[in-house]
């Protein structure tokens, strides 16, 4: 981990439809720092400004007030190479399977790299790399039609389409929403692999605290367009007062441990991971047996 953040947001504000009757301030002052290779979760209720925030990361929105700096480039700079930025920051929207438009899977994933003007050989290698990363067989599936796929597979195709740009930072908006449990687990494993093996910086938005606990190294909590708190899952999920004060949901492991603590058992609330929580519960059972 280097000292300089790969992505830095300083007091970012955004007002939709400024100076009209429908004016609405979505961001009132967000600041965050993400370092190379981290896996960051952004959580918060609907309307807290998460979607607006992440659209600033690849320049779909430019800062109205405040600063966004990605890998040393200021987004306020009018001469910014926006196409270069979008290759550096891969943004995967909610329900990305909707954006598939080519008939054949291989063509759809190749769209971005082809638009970059890469030689066909390089495009092919990138598509193969991206497909295998998300667990789609390149040889079997590249010539198949997109509309014959299941929802989970379509989402993998869409993810591969962004990965084929070989971004340094991958930003995902509710990546597992609406997936069946198996596809969801597969996708989560893909993300872990991208983060750990390919050393991609991952930033994701989620409402699912199990998922946050499973993936995130650090969490930012957004409310009313500003970031309330940030910390490791251990800091945030392990602190009952914080959770209650900011109305943050917690993973079920934490809820079980909290209930046990309320009933007078001596458990460590910071053990939010499944293995650690299991140990705590087992220790309670053992003390009970004695």
């Amino acid at each position: 981990m280097s000292d300089n953040p790969i992505l830095e947001v300083k007091n970012l504000q955004h007002i939709y439809m400024e100076k009209t009757p429908l004016e609405h301030q979505a961001l009132t002052g967000v600041s965050l720092r993400v370092y190379d290779g981290e896996c960051i979760a952004i959580i918060g209720h609907t309307g807290s400004g998460k979607s607006t925030l992440i659209q600033h990361f690849n320049g779909l929105m430019r800062p109205q007030r405040g600063e966004v700096i990605v890998d040393g480039h200021h987004l306020s700079d009018p001469k910014l190479d926006i196409k270069g930025l979008r290759r550096k920051v891969g943004l995967v929207f909610q329900n990305p399977e909707d954006q598939i438009f080519e008939k054949l899977i291989g063509d759809d994933i190749a769209y971005g790299p082809l638009k970059m003007g890469l030689p066909l050989k390089e495009v092919r290698d990138r598509v193969e790399w991206a497909m295998e990363l998300v667990g789609l067989s390149f040889n079997e599936l590249k010539d198949r039609v997109t509309y014959a796929l299941s929802g989970g597979q379509k989402r993998k195709v869409a993810l591969a389409g962004v990965l084929a740009l070989k971004p340094k930072i991958l930003v995902l908006d509710e990546p597992t929403a609406g997936l069946d449990p198996r596809s969801r687990q597969e996708l989560l494993d893909n993300i872990v692999q991208l983060n750990k093996k390919e050393n991609m910086t991952v930033i994701f938005v989620s409402h699912n605290m199990e998922e946050v606990a499973y993936l995130a190294e650090r969490i930012y909590v957004l409310a009313d367009g500003r970031n309330l708190i940030e910390g490791t899952p251990r800091d945030i999920f392990g602190n009952n007062e914080t959770l209650a004060k900011h109305h943050i949901g917690a993973p079920q492991t934490v809820e079980i441990l909290t209930k046990l603590k309320e009933q007078g058992y001596d458990v460590n609330l910071k053990s939010y991971e499944i293995e650690a929580a299991t140990k705590e519960i087992v220790s309670v059972l053992q003390s009970y047996r004695r």
Partner: protein, 185 residues
């Protein structure tokens, strides 16, 4: 095709009508290709698709919705005249449907493509005819526009109608096509 109005026909006419309105009020309804107007419109394509997929009534209603929305939203005087903006649009989906059924037995792709072409040309031709009748443009100018605008628009229409309808009807199910990145390198 079932006769009469089914729930599906009603709903599809509605959503395609919404797409037609949307294409009209955003700049997405225009494709920058060389025409007299500087771009080709694709706002009539929902009416063509509706006609091909669900029959003439659906095509007619979508054409009506398109016409009324282009009338209400018009920024050029020509289309603030209901006889130019609305009336010709009623026929887009109908002629598209007729060309589709007449060619369907020969070849499905040709039929869809022809519907796209005829539908678009119906739009150009009838709008210009009405514009001449109502005295907005002179006949000579109209012929020039019909050629310079009508032909590129019809080509654009064929491409998009084919792409959308083929995907919907899932015609390309056979795996005999190869991805661009397939093949030896």
């Amino acid at each position: 095709m079932e006769r009469g109005l089914t729930t599906r026909k009603i709903v599809i006419a509605g959503v395609l009508g919404a797409v037609a309105i949307l294409l009209g009020v955003t700049r997405l309804g225009f494709i920058p290709v060389p025409t007299a107007a500087g771009n080709a419109t694709i706002m009539h394509i929902p009416a063509i698709i509706g006609g091909v997929m669900q029959g003439p009534f659906v095509g007619l209603v979508i054409g009506l919705i398109f016409g009324v929305s282009s009338f209400l939203d018009a920024t050029i005087p020509l289309f603030k005249d209901p006889l130019v903006a609305i009336l010709p649009r009623l026929f887009i989906g109908v002629t598209a449907y007729l060309s589709y059924v007449s060619l369907r037995r020969v070849n499905e792709y040709a039929a869809i493509g022809m519907a796209g072409f005829v539908g678009a040309f119906t739009n150009t031709l009838l709008v210009l005819t009405m514009a001449v009748i109502r005295g907005y443009i002179a006949p000579g100018v109209a012929v020039t526009i019909a050629l310079t605008n009508g032909i590129p628009e019809a080509i654009v229409s064929v491409i998009i109608t084919l792409a959308v309808v083929v995907a919907w009807k899932k015609l390309d199910h056979r795996g005999n096509r190869k991805s661009k990145i397939s093949g030896e390198m």
